[in-house]
Each structure stands twice: as C-alpha cells, then as structure tokens.
C-alpha cells in the first residue's frame, strides 16, 4: 500500500534521505545569483534547484509567495516546475499556507491537490486559524494519495503567543492541532497522510509527537539557525522516515552553479541522514 501520501513519503525518505529542497525565488536570492529579479530569473532558479534535488532529496517545497508575486506569469512558472518535477518523479509540497472556511476550501483543495488542476502537487501546507476541522475539503484528498501539512508551531517568535494560548483543559493551541491531526490519522499500521509543520527552532510541544502518526515538515534548519542535531532530538522515537527537513536559503546560497548546488544538496542530505 504505497498509494497513500504518508507511506509514499516514508519510502522516499528511506530511499533518498530526509532532505526537502526549498525553492524560494525571492528578490534577495535572485540578486545573490546575479540573476534579474524577474519571471525569467525565478524560472531559472526554480528549475536549477529542481535539477539539484533529483535523486538526492525526498521532495521539493516551492514557496508559493515568491511565484505569486509575478501574478499569472508566476503561476505559469509554477505549472512548468510541477510538470518537470512530476516527469522526474520528485514529490512536490506546495508551501501555500492556505486555509479558509466552508466551500472556499473546496477551491483551494482543488487548486493544489486535484489531478485535474494545473497546480496539482503531492501535498500542500495549511494554516489552521479557522480550525483544523474547517480544513476537511483538503483531507478528502488523502484518500486519493495526497497529503497536507498543517501549521502547528512555526519557526518564528511572533507566533508564540497565539500558538501557546490555552484552550479548555489547559491545552495549548499547538497541542490541539497536533492532537486533532493524530485523531484524524488514527493509529493504523500505516503512517497517516495528514502531517504537521513544526519549526526546528521550537521546544518540544507538550503533546507526545510519537502519537501524531503522520509526517513532520520541519523548517528552520540552516539560515534560521537550527541544527540537524536539534531536529534529531525533537523527533526522537517518531516513526522511521517520518521527518522531512526543509532547507532553502542555505542550499540556494551554494548556487547558481549546478555543481555547487548538487554538492550542497548531498552534504545536507548526509548531515540530516546521520541524525534522523
């Protein structure tokens, strides 16, 4: 049963290591590559990182904001990136942080997870301010092999007051998200397809991470300051190959030469594999 997203991702991590290649064509990174801050620059950047990821990373994670800033043309580049990644059999996690209420989520879920959409990815990141249960239209796609990663504890400090606010029974918001994800994933033999985003710069939440039973997407390593060792400790005793570590700026800064990018991808993969 490798059709579901959870097991599919685990198999990729087992085969290729836990590195996720972040694709963030920001103004700053394009400038650092001596490329124009334009749609052409963004396309070159995205395809270069995809190429470096093939065969050495479990997934790519394009940050949608940096494509959206170019409007329809930016989405055209995303569509091309997704097509090429699918041709190369690379898992795509659309880092879109979408989330709304009711049938609006039908629109977003279709956009990022439906095979009929030109933006169809393998998984999408979601923001739970409107409630985890409001995200149900996305969960429906887990039956068809797709996944989601819901923000629990983000890597920035500004999010702490909200994410540690207390519900009835003294449960923190981040723990509620983890618990609701755990409940939806259930305790079957197979890893669930509903994942969470948990910043590597964070303390261990009170909710027992080994009970989440879904994949973890972990930002904050590299430029944001967390080390592979910190990640290893945070996810100690979680299911094998369930932790995917995103590195964006620290990889991109090894570009634009392709050999530099490929070396950086292998180095990060090896560093992360040794602690996870």
């Amino acid at each position: 049963m490798l059709d579901r997203f959870g097991p599919r991702l685990q198999e990729r991590i087992r085969a290729l290591g836990p590195l996720c290649v972040g694709i963030d064509p920001s103004s700053a990174l394009l400038t650092s590559w001596d490329r124009p801050d334009s749609i052409e620059g963004a396309e070159f950047f995205a395809l270069s990182l995809l190429e470096a990821a093939i065969g050495h990373a479990a997934a790519i994670k394009p940050q949608i904001a940096y494509f959206e800033r170019f409007g329809a043309a930016g989405y055209g580049v995303l569509e091309r990136l997704f097509l090429e990644a699918r041709d190369a059999d690379v898992l795509i996690i659309a880092d879109a942080k979408r989330g709304d209420i009711g049938s609006t989520n039908d629109g977003y879920a279709f956009a990022w997870l439906d095979e009929r959409s030109p933006l169809c990815a393998d998984a999408v990141t979601l923001s739970p301010y409107t409630g985890v249960d409001a995200l149900a239209p996305f969960f429906n796609y887990t039956q068809g092999g797709k996944g989601v990663f819901i923000l629990a504890a983000t890597s920035n400090d500004e999010g702490r007051p909200l994410q540690t606010a207390r519900l009835d029974g003294d449960e923190a918001v981040e723990d509620m998200v983890l618990r609701q994800v755990a409940e939806r994933n259930g305790g079957g033999d197979e890893l669930g397809s509903i994942g969470v985003v948990l910043g590597a710069t964070r303390q261990r939440p009170r909710f027992d991470l080994t009970r989440v039973h879904g994949p973890f997407l972990v930002p904050g390593v590299g430029a944001q300051g967390a080390t592979p060792d910190q990640v290893g400790r945070l996810f100690d005793r979680c299911p094998p190959n369930s932790v995917l570590v995103n590195v964006s700026r620290a990889l991109a800064s090894a570009g634009p030469e392709r050999s530099g990018l490929r070396d950086a991808v292998r180095r990060w993969r090896d560093d992360l594999s040794s602690t996870l």
Copy 2:
C-alpha cells in the same frame, strides 16, 4: 487626507453604502447560472458581478480560491478583473487569507499590494496564525494607501476553540488580534488602514470594538444566516462608515441576468444602509 486606505474606504462607504460585493465563482454558483465550470464561466461571472457593483457598492471582494483552482489561467482572469475594477474606480479587496513568516510575507505583500504587481489590489485579507507582528511586510504598504483585513473571529464554528483560546492575562486570541490591530492603528483623527475580519454570526468580542480604529470586513450575512440588524448591533458606536458588509451567494443567486444582479445589489445596499 484621502490617500490612506482607511479614509478612502470610509468615503466610499459614505457615498455608496456599506455593501461589499463578494465575487465567488465556485462550481456551485457557476452551475446555478447555467454556465460551464470553466475559466470562461468564471470570467463571465466575475465581470457580471463587477458591473453590478459599479456605483452601488463600496468595494468588491474576489475570493481568490475560486480563481486559483484554474491555475495561471485563473490568475489571468483575476488580473483582468482587477484592471477593469480599477478603470471603473471600484475598490478591490483580495480575499486571499495569506500569511506566513519573515521574508515570505514580502512576497505575498508585493503580490497583492504593490503597484508593480499585476495582482495589485486596494487591500488583502490575512490569517494571523504566525502572529500579527509577522505580518509587518503588509503593514508597510499602508503608508502607500493600501490596507489589510486580518482574521479575528471567523464566521464558522470550527474556528471557535482556537480563536477563544486564552493567552497570559486571560486574553482571548481574537481579542489579542483586535488589540494588536488597535495598537497599530493608533488613536489619530483618521481611521487606520489595518482592518479586521469579524463574522456577523459571532458574539461581540470582549475587546471594545470602538477602540479598533480601523475598518471592519464582515462576512456571514445572507447565505450564512446573519441579518443586517445583527451587524448593526455588533458594531454599534464604531466610527461612521467603518463597517463593510460582504454578501456573496445571496447576491449571486439573483443572477445571471444583469438586471437581477443590479436589483439585488441595490436591495442589499439599502437594507444594510438602514442599520449601519
């Protein structure tokens, strides 16, 4: 000083009434119009509602999810809608619920609020799970005449546990959002440009709404069950012309004939004007 978004919006509401025309080209609404669930259908739908809004509504609010589901082509329709709205001098609130951390928000803020972007609107809706302070890149654009609406209390029930979770000092998450917005808007003579989204189906929050000193974007009226009277009571004693009430499905259901749409827009505007 009508350059800032807050006063600009107030002037529109004073002149045209508090109605915001929601533009939600969902599968269900396109089907109810006997239109194909396609990019052509969505374009017809969007431009029809824009036309009905001109001269009778303070703003339009396209729901981005329903365009994003068509990928780059959907964003192409949005670009056309925005161009035509600007030509017709109609305020655009991009209902995107964006929000991330750090420089990622630079990308989203550029996309929706920068005059150099093909998706440049007058204001954008934001989700604060990563913290209100993390949204600073958007706030920078308020100096240049743009605005934002941050989710405080959403109109759906699934969001209640998170939005009423308690911070230190027993402050609810929704009250923290309102307070932080109030602090950023300050108490000057002029209405601030940082608004909040507050569902009309909600109880009055503990934080005194008259202190927010920014505009309110109010969904939940019409198909979601709240009445104009409820809105009037909720925002009693708030600054004049600071409440913008969105109606989407209840307007669209009067289409696709243009005369029906225009009549519905006027009727809703009159109903809302009488209670706000």
